[in-house]
């Protein structure tokens, strides 16, 4: 069965043949962040895919992964393209290195999970919060419900972590 939902007024749909994305987003809908772990080499991968990018194996398990990481880079949208985001500028698009499997299988690799900066309640972050987040910020994942049994990962500043002074674009 396909999944359908809506986020900020945008219709979202996971096709019934898209088995990898179906399972990924269904787990999110149950409040669990799970990634595919290769049954041969044991490496996790993201985004969901049909084979292991390191050993080509087709077999995998869905493995629970801690939703914690560090902002590797970001973009900050001031002029939205999609109508759904126009009321929410500036919004950040964060590329987050998961703590899990960072630097594996080679030093420049990490599981880099995309998401927006949101409040602890899952709302897109207001401008004053956006200004507190940059490269180096520690973030934790929030799963935001978008439909029946369907949620999407988002990121919020990790209140329990000791936060460094984040690196931000020099012109505010």
């Amino acid at each position: 069965m396909s999944l359908t939902g809506e986020y900020l007024g945008m219709p979202l749909a996971v096709d019934d043949l898209d088995l990898e994305n179906l399972e990924y987003f269904r787990a999110c809908g149950r409040g669990e962040f799970r990634l595919q772990r290769c049954k041969n080499c044991g490496l996790l991968r993201y985004p969901p895919g049909t084979a292991c990018p390191w050993c080509t194996n087709l077999e995998f398990d869905w493995t629970p992964v801690e939703g914690k990481g560090t902002v590797h880079s970001y973009g900050e949208v001031h002029q939205a393209i999609q109508p759904s985001f126009r009321a929410h500028t500036p919004y950040q698009v964060l590329l987050v290195d998961l703590d899990t499997q960072k630097g594996q299988p080679s030093p420049d690799e990490a599981i880099r999970v995309i998401g927006n900066l949101v409040t602890p309640d899952g709302e897109l972050a207001p401008p004053e919060l956006v200004k507190r987040c940059g490269i180096g910020s520690h973030v934790r994942m929030i799963l935001v419900p978008v439909g029946e049994g369907f949620a999407i990962p988002q990121w919020t500043l990790d209140e329990d972590a000791e936060q460094p002074e984040p690196w931000r674009y020099p012109q505010e």
């Binding site: 993201y46 973009g75 002029q79 590329l95």
Partner: protein, 419 residues
């Protein structure tokens, strides 16, 4: 990804110098052409044929690329009375030009046809906006888009911003250095009667323009325009039958990719782009190095794309791209001018083909600037670039490199020499 198989550059030498661009043409660059892409494409191909001095019977192959925003080859061939022995219309935008030149060489080499016209026709402003606005922005999200558009991560600027930002973090690259790309290209465009934006701008103009997506101001982004462009490729043995000195092709790279191209950010460093891999095909196949290149056409979808490519192709050391693009090297009159037409930032947006056309004309020594004409269609170039409306022909251009950009993870490239 250590098992990545490297391209075998030891076998390609026999095609070095064996093919050439013999005709180039374009429409005007407008915002609101009022014509179909079919009409624009026909106009550009006809201009390229006239440039070469060709009849319809002199062309028997056609290639084009589009994002489903153009008209396929058979319609244009029909309009112009060209009987085709080969055609193919492929999906793609930036970086397709050089890739299709490589395909044309292969097709001619295989004996499938003799001379190929490659075109790109688009109403990138008035019909399918290159920035992704309009109907596409409001369409339902599914498939791979679930991990991108769901997050307001869709347009080129949005999806590349993480690479650009990380380069500033990794190497201390500054907004002022990037702004110089626009400043220099605007100087070049001021000497280009075809350019859509001809006004020279300052660093402050760039930094004071509004933010689109940090780190990009409005003036860090290219223009969106309506236009068509065309280049004609044939084998070296036929290249001297036409009106102009041919531009001989020394090497091509087509859509060379970083690892994990499904989502290239998984494989860092993310401030390194596809040119890092492409250079190892481009230069050995040409038998040249970056120091041998007189002029570059580094794709400027954004100020950053020019810098990242020049750096990763080895025109400067890794991390020194900001210095390279701001120290005058790539200005007309400098050591290695870049995008002398004004490029995508100023002349018009064609998904890369206008940058190849410009380098072909520079190699001929026949740039279409405002210098006085001598009657036979040629100009007396003054080599004075100081004021708008002046000369755009560079001195002593013998070898050029085009560096085409699709996205941080994918690029194409080509080296040409004066025939």
């Amino acid at each position: 990804m250590s098992q990545q198989v490297e391209a075998d550059v030891s076998t390609g030498h026999y095609l070095r110098d064996k093919y050439a661009i013999v005709g180039v043409g374009e429409t005007t660059y407008t915002r609101g052409s009022g014509r179909t892409t079919r009409a624009l494409g026909t106009w550009a191909i006809r201009n390229a044929m006239q440039d070469a001095g060709m009849q319809p019977s002199d062309i028997d192959g056609m290639l084009s690329y589009s994002n489903n925003d153009s008209t396929p080859s058979p319609m244009l061939a029909g309009d112009l009375g060209i009987r085709l022995n080969f055609y193919m219309d492929v999906y793609g935008g930036g970086s397709s030009t050089e890739a299709l030149i490589g395909i044309a060489i292969g097709v001619i080499e295989a004996g499938m046809c003799k001379t190929v016209a490659i075109f790109r026709a688009m109403n990138g402003f008035s019909q399918v906006r290159i920035g992704g606005t309009g109907a596409r922005a409001a369409a339902p999200v599914s498939g791979d888009g679930l991990h991108a558009r769901t997050y307001g991560w869709m347009s080129a600027g949005q999806s590349f911003s993480q690479s650009f930002m990380r380069h500033m973090y990794d190497y201390g690259t500054t907004p002022e250095q990037l702004a110089m790309v626009k400043v220099i290209h605007s100087e070049h465009a001021s000497n280009n009667p075809k350019a859509y934006y001809k006004d020279r701008v300052s660093v402050d103009d760039v930094l004071n323009s509004r933010f689109i997506v940090k780190p990009l101001h409005l003036l860090d982004c290219c223009v969106e325009t309506d236009n068509a462009t065309c280049i004609i490729i044939t084998s070296a043995d036929r290249a001297y039958d036409w009106k102009h000195t041919p531009a001989r092709i020394l090497s091509v790279v087509g859509r060379c990719c970083k690892p994990r191209i499904d989502m290239h950010y998984q494989h860092g460093p993310i401030s390194t782009v596809a040119g890092h891999y492409a250079k190892d095909i481009l230069f050995p196949n040409a038998g040249l190095g970056p120091e041998d290149i007189d002029m570059t056409g580094a794709y400027d979808a954004f100020t950053f794309t020019t810098m990242l490519q020049l750096e990763d192709y080895g025109f400067c050391a890794k991390g020194e791209g900001g210095q390279y693009v701001s120290d005058g090297t790539m200005r007309l009159g400098g050591r290695r001018p870049n995008n002398t037409s004004g490029g995508h930032l100023c002349e018009g947006y064609t998904h890369g083909m206008n940058m190849v056309i410009e380098n072909v004309r520079q190699l001929r020594g026949e740039i279409d600037d405002s210098c006085p004409e001598t009657g036979d269609g040629k100009r007396t170039h003054t080599y004075d670039y100081s004021t708008p409306g002046g000369c755009r022909q560079a001195k002593d251009v013998n070898v050029t490199a085009n560096l085409g950009w699709a996205m941080p993870g994918t690029g194409s490239a080509m080296i040409m020499r004066k025939g």
